[in-house]
């Protein structure tokens, strides 16, 4: 994997790990600091937020790995301090279910809820090896035929702090929007990694599913596409090396659209699936 760094970061010692760290305040309650490094324009990325909450739930629940995480986004998060309050809903033998809310503070210091999450956790390493899949690897050209924000002559519209922390190489077939000629197809495909070379783990998959430019760009829609709800299934612990992500939108209607993401690892396994419901920008 060539992500342009010489000293490669590792799982547990990387920008992503530091910026998603949580500190136990009291049983089930975790303090954190949302980093300005994972913002798009001024919005904190929804996948990054999910990874922060996912880390807190992994510490609070008896099982370590997110299997299915459903998040409803309530109000826009800002960089700065936040608190995550978790509840263990059910502890089973192979799965446990938890709930978490992320709060920030208003001018009077009162808690304002940003996101509420339900999640079921398990142990990915305890799963059997059976695979009976009909899913096919996304058709993404080799890395050297793909393009990232760093390859653009000028900053790509909509790119901001988060692009410095990601290694993205987008399929040129889904880059029409960046050249003013969106394809009209609701598709986005990319190679994906963290810029400091840290390999993927289940928590960074929660980031990955929401880290590409929105499919709406390829539908000719500009502006912010705020997530209403995002559900991620983590199906397998990702192998070291780059990920491939394919996002598609089939139905834009009534001011809303769905975005489905598939994440594949370097061993050609489908490691995560997600779907979100998002709003189209007003007036478009």
């Amino acid at each position: 994997m060539t992500q342009g760094t010489s000293a490669q970061a590792t799982i547990g010692d990387s920008e992503f790990d530091r910026d998603t760290a949580v500190t136990l305040r009291e049983p089930g309650v975790y303090d954190t600091e949302l980093s300005a490094g994972w913002t798009i324009i001024n919005a904190v990325n929804g996948g990054y937020l999910l990874a922060v909450i996912g880390r807190a739930l992994g510490q609070a629940l008896p099982h370590p790995d997110p299997f299915t995480v459903s998040a409803h986004y309530l109000t826009a998060s800002q960089p700065g301090p936040a608190v995550i309050r978790t509840e263990t809903v059910r502890s089973g033998r192979t799965l446990s279910t938890g709930q978490a809310s992320l709060f920030q503070y208003d001018e009077e210091g009162r808690e304002v809820e940003r996101i509420r999450v339900l999640a079921s956790y398990g142990d990915l390493d305890a799963l059997p090896d059976d695979v009976r899949t009909s899913a096919a690897l996304p058709a993404i050209p080799p890395v050297d035929q793909c393009f990232g924000p760093q390859d653009a002559p000028a900053p790509i519209k909509g790119s901001t702090a988060i692009t410095d922390r990601l290694w993205l190489k987008l399929d040129p077939a889904t880059l029409g929007w960046a050249l003013g000629a969106p394809s009209g197809k609701g598709e986005m495909r990319s190679w994906f990694g963290l810029a400091d070379g840290r390999d993927a783990d289940p928590l960074s998959l929660l980031l990955a599913v929401d880290a590409l430019p929105p499919t709406a760009f390829e539908l000719g829609i500009q502006g912010w596409v705020p997530t209403v709800e995002l559900t991620v299934h983590v199906r397998c612990r990702p192998a070291p090396g780059p990920l491939r992500i394919a996002i598609s939108t089939r139905n834009l209607a009534g001011g809303f659209l769905e975005e489905d993401a598939e994440v594949w690892d370097s061993a050609d396994r489908l490691v995560a699936q997600s779907r979100q419901l998002a709003r189209t920008p007003l007036g478009r």
Copy 2:
């Protein structure tokens, strides 16, 4: 629509409405009686349960229609009394978000939580008419070339009470399992209605996404496929007349599978999308 009844039931006056009715006990708390009429073998259907909870949330929240509903299934529900406790998490101008839990009672009368739900509600009739969809109608043959449980010489394995309340006409291309010759493809397609002729509404769409035989049957897997998590997006108020439902599984691995459902109405509009994570039966 020919569903074999002469006196057609209507929205508000039907088996489905009576069996999903909830009674206000105190603000935000609703009593209900889970009907034995919506069971598969001895399990209460997960989509029926979601419709009951969805009705309670529609009464508790300031907006009437489910837009996105995420349910985590905790313990198996039984026919009989239940209580639904709701919380209004956020009330916005166009969307409100709520939480609900359905409880039943153990032998000592203590509440046992069955399902926990996060949901965002809105007003389907207030949405703009824009549609920019690439989704295609499922290829299901005409009704008279499809088959339902009533067409089988003997009761189809796995069919039980719920089949008397549904009008299902399955695409023969996805019926191999019923003849002992599953196709190996994770697909199930059917015409869908309620047996008493009641038309679809947003609440019955919550039932519809989980009412077909599981795709696992066509993958050669028998037995119960319990849902861990199910998220439904309702995208449009369905027109009167029969629905068409297509379910697909792309990835069966590690003892879990996803089931994606699309529901189309008689006006050829994609009215609901869902995805669930389910467990494959043990030992298969």
